[in-house]
Symmetry: C2
Subunit: 361 residues, 2 copies
């Protein structure tokens, strides 16, 4: 399978893989797709620099990209200590009470509970600075168009910019702002997602803009890839599916929970970042639907509120309470396989689906 | 485009069209698909008999079907007068207050405000009785498997039974109950719908059952039809899209509202029947999200509660307050066209999409 996107990005297969793991990202690039490393978890730009240096050494010269989280409108800034003052005590109490109820132990003495700062504009800018010192071939922004000056700088380096969109009007705005690729992210996707499902959203965005569109949300098989391309997409953007690959070694409990989950076991909620995002449904997400749960805070406060909880949950190793963005495709994530196997299966199934369709004409 | 479903149902194109209008249903059948007439609005079986007789005379001998609304579990029965006693006064007050606020006039003197009784088991059974006296080629049930004895009777007439499913486990149960065709209805669909989007649901159900699967939800173009078939469906089930055809002449205000709506202008809510159903978002649906709105009642009470309101709204002719089930595909419903034109476009676009895909291999 080859689309014009392949030439544009210098890749073999129009499969872009978003992942928080440099090991997974490198494996996707080596398999002929494009690995896109999520930067949000790097509070210290030097750590991101090290991860990208590792990728430079482990991608056989194949193209890769990075994903930043940068709202076009600059939000409240400051260190996590300053922002902490804006978080109501009642919210903090609820989080502590819930963790106690769920049996999630505190962090060991001396371990930091510092939040994920990648949601802050200044930190996201440091990610761009570092990324542009590496041979990246794409910067994607998970929260729409980056600010004008960032787009200009990235373009000056000859690197295209992608932006996620959940509505045709957002896609139009991105392209007007200079974005080169639109990721049409449907309701069923993991992480930040809107109300319109992939089946409806993709053709709507394809018809609305004159740049290549990647379909995201609900894609984890070659049949779904064929469907995405039938809808008019130039390629696919997959995030969830790589979380159960062999190269994703960040958390065993998370993989166990994902392998066991069905397509009904996700929930779209504001508890992760303050904006609606689809997560695995667990005892943690369910606790936020109880009668005594407060309303989630706006971005970036909500993520700061829950970030120590996320670290405690990750450490607890309990699959029943994980806090993890994932799409409805989780129902098809039932075994741990190497990235190269996943890619080979996707391509084979795509061919089979197109062959089957061709016979119906 | 021809699938095995075409032979099974005796149709030219694997396009099943659900519609409350016998004119639209007949036109779909004449165009080579299968029109499926929604029976729920026929309180009096004699009226349904007349509609089907008209269809017999206006389908050129082409196959057509009917759609009933029959829960497998028999709900509370009785006349609308008996059931009326179960509806709290506070709910009735809210409806009256809301209609007043929205400027919806009362019904003219002497006009009945009787509810839609097709949701009642006894009335749905009368629909089956009448339908089996006509040369129908399909009975579909909008609420899962019909009761065993109904399936048996329909099969004894040599007529296959279809049932809607929003989860793979429901589809498995339907097939175990003897259902012959499963309609996999995704989140984006109009009317009763679950949480799982078409992109994820269709392959899941295709893999779960060994009967043909129709994809429903988000389908209004040949690209979407090609996507549905790429996902493994044997055909498509379209409902919303026919509401803006020239043959659908039941209500001008509704068509105006649908033509103007975008894909974001729907809402999934329990206010229509008591079960989650996707409706056009209007001042009427928004009123039910206000602080003083009561929780919707269970089926069949909710529909009885709002049925006089539905008649008043329909009569008022105000597009801003219509109460109409429709899917997210409403964003693509932008002009009134004859059914035959819609069908021709679907088939042409399907061919184009498959040709385009074929070139990517």
């Amino acid at each position: 399978m080859r689309t014009s996107l392949c030439d544009e990005l210098g890749i073999e297969h129009p499969v872009l893989g978003f992942t928080p793991s440099e090991h997974v990202a490198a494996a996707i690039s080596r398999a002929g797709g494009m690995g896109v490393l999520g930067c949000v978890r790097y509070n210290d730009a030097a750590d991101l620099d090290r991860a990208l240096t590792w990728m430079d050494e482990n991608t056989d010269g194949k193209p890769y990209g990075v994903d930043i989280v940068m709202p076009a409108k600059v939000p409240a800034e400051g260190t996590s200590f300053d922002l902490d003052k804006l978080i109501p005590e009642g919210h903090k109490d609820f989080v502590q009470r819930t963790l106690l109820k769920l049996g999630v132990p505190p962090l060991p003495d001396g371990e930091s509970g510092e939040g994920v700062l990648g949601w802050l504009h200044s930190v996201a800018r440091s990610h761009v600075d570092v990324a542009l010192e590496h041979p990246i071939r794409l910067i994607a922004n998970a929260l729409g168009s980056p600010p004008d000056d960032v787009i200009k700088r990235v373009h000056d380096h000859g690197v295209p910019v992608a932006a996620l969109a959940g509505k045709a009007e957002h896609a139009r705005r991105h392209v007007a702002n200079g974005v080169d690729l639109v990721v049409a992210q449907g309701y069923e996707a993991g992480g930040h997602t809107g109300e319109i499902a992939t089946m409806v959203l993709v053709p709507e965005i394809v018809d609305a803009v004159d740049v290549p569109v990647l379909a995201a949300g609900g894609i984890g098989s070659g049949r779904q890839m064929a469907a995405a391309l039938a809808l008019g997409a130039s390629g696919v953007w997959m995030g969830s599916y790589w979380l159960t690959t062999a190269e994703y070694t960040q958390n065993d409990a998370t993989q166990q929970a994902l392998l066991a989950a069905g397509s009904s076991d996700t929930v779209r909620t504001r508890i992760y970042t303050g904006k609606p995002a689809r997560l695995l449904k667990t005892r943690w997400t369910e606790a936020w639907s109880s009668d005594d749960a407060p309303d989630p805070l706006p971005m970036p406060l909500q993520n700061l509120l829950v970030s120590e909880a996320h670290q405690r949950i990750a450490r607890s190793g309990d699959p029943a309470v994980v806090s993890m963005p994932v799409g409805q495709i989780v129902g098809r994530m039932n075994e741990v396989r190497p990235v190269a196997d996943v890619m080979a299966t996707l391509l084979r199934e795509f061919d089979e689906a197109v062959e089957r369709l061709d016979k119906l004409r």
